[in-house]
């Protein structure tokens, strides 16, 4: 009789193990750039559940070890899983107690392998990651996508940031930006994202990583301007349209 059998479709079917099919709670873009003393990274604190802005205090940037900073967009639970893996990795490295520590290049490589292998098993970690760090005076900024595409560049962005922030960065980034100039440039990008990305929240953090260490700022908001006179009565000439 079939009375005591558990539902067979989940346990015995070939797709018994469940895999990530679509993301649920997502974070939007992360933007980062290299500046004179290290790396600057910015991300807002929103976690959207589909089209609702459900969580507004999600920290999407975390320090890894002594030398690196990881920012993630995409599924938040997969980001938390990655932090667990990285925690084990850093702990294992510390236990050697040999004076060496994992630098950003090594962490970037590890993340690439993890993401690519998960994608090959058709069970991806649904994230786009930005990894920045400074070790022995060398600045490093790289990106890994959810299918394992990885590269290194002077400025990176994930998600919508690719379309809206990278054109600005390609135009205005230069070597040897000072801290204030870098923050101003990042804020410019985040402001455009706030205007034009529907899943952006006006509560962001900016993180700085230099040879001295890692600081993640307190959350703050950007000033926006909505007072163009053309927005006041836009359809004065064309009744019935927007």
């Amino acid at each position: 009789m079939e009375s005591n059998q558990a539902n067979p479709s989940i346990l015995c079917s070939p797709e018994g193990s469940q895999r990530t099919l679509y993301p649920y709670v997502t974070g939007t873009s992360v933007v980062a750039l290299k500046y004179k003393d290290g790396i600057l990274m910015a991300a807002d604190m929103g976690g959207s559940y589909g089209s609702t802005l459900r969580y507004k205090s999600v920290e999407r940037m975390k320090p890894i070890g002594k030398h690196s900073l990881l920012g993630a967009s995409g599924e938040i639970s997969d980001f938390q899983e990655l932090l667990k893996y990285l925690d084990e990795l850093v702990l294992y490295d510390n236990m050697w107690d040999d004076g060496n520590s994992l630098g950003p290049k090594e962490i970037h490589n590890y993340l690439t392998r993890v993401m690519y292998n998960r994608r090959n098993k058709f069970n991806p970690l649904w994230n786009s990651l930005v990894l920045g760090g400074v070790k022995n005076g060398e600045k490093y900024l790289g990106m890994v996508s959810m299918i394992g595409v990885n590269f290194e560049d002077n400025h990176v962005a994930t998600g919508f940031g690719n379309h809206l922030a990278r054109p600005i960065l390609r135009d205005e980034w230069r070597e040897d930006l000072s801290f204030e100039e870098g923050v101003k440039l990042l804020e410019k990008c985040m402001r455009v994202l706030l205007y034009r990305d529907r899943s952006a929240v006006n509560k962001l953090q900016i993180a700085k990583i230099t040879g001295e260490g890692i600081t993640i700022s307190q959350p703050y908001s950007l000033k926006t301007f909505w007072g163009f006179s053309a927005f006041q009565n836009p359809t004065a000439g064309a009744e019935g349209s927007w």
């Binding site: 379309h163 809206l164 922030a165 990278r166 054109p167 600005i168 390609r170 135009d171 410019k188 990008c189 402001r191 455009v192 205007y195 034009r196 163009f228 006179s229 053309a230 927005f231 836009p234 359809t235 000439g237 064309a238 349209s241 927007w242």
Partner: protein, 273 residues
């Protein structure tokens, strides 16, 4: 009783008669011919005296660049111009048609065309085709009520904006506008901002490229600056001329004039009817 064949008056809107046949053909493996799209960056902005429109000049057919220097800013009226993105044939045809309708309207009313008139003609046409006429337009002009800038989407909805971008490069161009637009721009600042926005589209979007076209419209005048900026010139042109191998030698020349073979008779017979 004989069947009366009634002439049903043609109804407006899209005729879906051929859709079933197209679906059947697609099932049998017949591919629709590819259409040439203008994967594009088009922008417009209002400055203190009028409107500046800008466009790139690349027309693509899938992954190939079909036309390196096409014109995407179309004439509608002496004081109204329209940039078009989407299917090239659709934008050309729809702007040509509305331009003719506007001229007839000008003769009928005896007045300069208004931008909202062009807007209404375009949106009514596009809506009646339910988005199948794939034309996304940035319409700008100056009439006696002032400068106007509108965007029109393929399904027929419109927006009225101080600055607007459309096409595949619209996000790159909008990023520039959102970070640098302010009110009360002068003509040179407006042209500079539009050029920067189109260049952002040209260099960051694969569907846009080649040169920048600009059109400045003010009360009573317009300037169409075709290829205002050419940031993608041919980088290598061979300095030597092409050399051809030695031609056949001419040994001798003999010229014979043609004789006249027609004799014109003064008083000929009349042609028989």
């Amino acid at each position: 009783m004989s069947k009366l064949a009634m002439d049903v008056p043609p109804k407006g809107g899209f005729s879906f008669d051929l859709c079933k046949r197209n679906a059947m053909l697609a099932k049998d493996g017949v591919q629709l011919p590819p259409f040439r799209k203008t994967g594009t960056t088009i922008v417009g902005l209002i400055y203190q005296d009028g409107v500046v429109l800008g466009a790139d000049t690349r027309a693509t057919e899938g992954p190939i660049v079909a036309d390196k220097n096409c014109e995407k800013i179309h004439y509608l009226a002496p004081n109204i111009y329209c940039c078009g993105a989407g299917t090239a044939a659709d934008t050309e045809a729809v702007t040509d048609m509305v331009s003719a309708q506007l001229q007839l309207h000008r003769y009928h009313t005896g007045r300069e065309s208004r931008v909202v008139t062009a807007l209404t003609y375009l949106k009514r046409h596009l809506f009646s085709y339910q988005g199948h006429v794939s034309a996304a337009l940035v319409l700008g002009g100056v009439d006696f009520t002032g400068p106007h800038l509108h965007t029109i989407y393929p399904h027929g909805s419109t927006d009225t904006l101080p600055y607007a971008t459309m096409g595949s490069g619209s996000l790159a161009a909008m990023a520039i506008f959102e970070s640098k637009y302010k009110e009360g721009l002068t003509r040179d600042e407006g042209v500079q901002l539009v050029t920067e926005a189109i260049c952002a589209g040209i260099f960051n979007d694969l569907g846009s490229g080649s040169n920048v076209d600009i059109c400045v419209i003010t009360k009573g005048s317009k300037e169409y600056l075709r290829n205002h900026l050419q940031p993608n010139p041919r980088t290598y042109v061979t300095p030597k001329e092409y050399t051809f191998s030695k031609k056949t030698e001419v040994l001798s020349t003999l010229v014979t004039t043609l004789k006249e073979r027609v004799e014109v008779v003064e008083a000929g017979d009349k042609m028989e009817e």
